[in-house]
Symmetry: C2
Subunit: 123 residues, 2 copies
């Protein structure tokens, strides 16, 4: 419809890899939370409702490993740990927002399609 295909079959693997990387249950939610400003552990836990501290720890650790989130510790008592998006992390949030716009626009239709499909499933 527009430009010649920029993504070749080979590149699709990279797309898929990124999608699988951020396509888990919590990663995007955490990134979105950190998009506004850096936050501390329990602050994140409160704002991302429903996440267990186990999964928050895992999510933040893999984000840090990939260089998407920076972890800074203040050795006070009690300790303060602050998480912030790196420039790389911020750059990721842009295309994710695009997908977010699409999601907001089309999620309703998708759910509708599902209901129709399930209703038509005679058995």
């Amino acid at each position: 419809m527009d430009m010649p295909t920029r993504l070749e079959a080979h590149d699709c693997r990279g797309v898929s890899e990124i999608l699988m990387r951020i396509g888990d249950k919590w990663t995007v939610l955490v990134v979105m939370m950190l998009r506004e400003k850096p936050r501390r552990f329990n602050e994140l836990k409160r704002h991302v409702g429903g996440i267990s501290q186990q999964m928050l720890t895992r999510t933040l650790k893999t984000l840090e490993r990939d260089g998407l989130v920076d972890r800074s510790v203040r050795e006070t008592t009690p300790p303060q740990v602050e998480y912030a998006l790196t420039p790389l992390g911020h750059s990721l949030s842009a295309p994710v927002m695009h997908l977010g716009d699409w999601a907001i626009a089309n999620l309703g239709e998708i759910h509708l399609n599902r209901h129709r499909y399930d209703a038509a499933t005679h058995g």
Copy 2:
């Protein structure tokens, strides 16, 4: 940094839902394949290397359920089944391409970060 945040916390759930929906191992690859033109079952199986027919069946079925892919059967012998993106499916491919561009640009750095992190993990 730019416009006021368009995505509120509530909306992030939708984003996350879509990400989880298409963030599995094969969905995006199949959508990318169908982006060029409609294809038949084994044609897809060949082009999307490494997918089992089990997973291709599942992937196509959920795509059809969500109204992202259209399935048309020609009752010949042997039967011919063609899969094509719906307009909704095509509209999804756009933001996915944006994420694809990001992936191509930054996947190298991510892998590098991982190696660095793992190397620094003294134990």
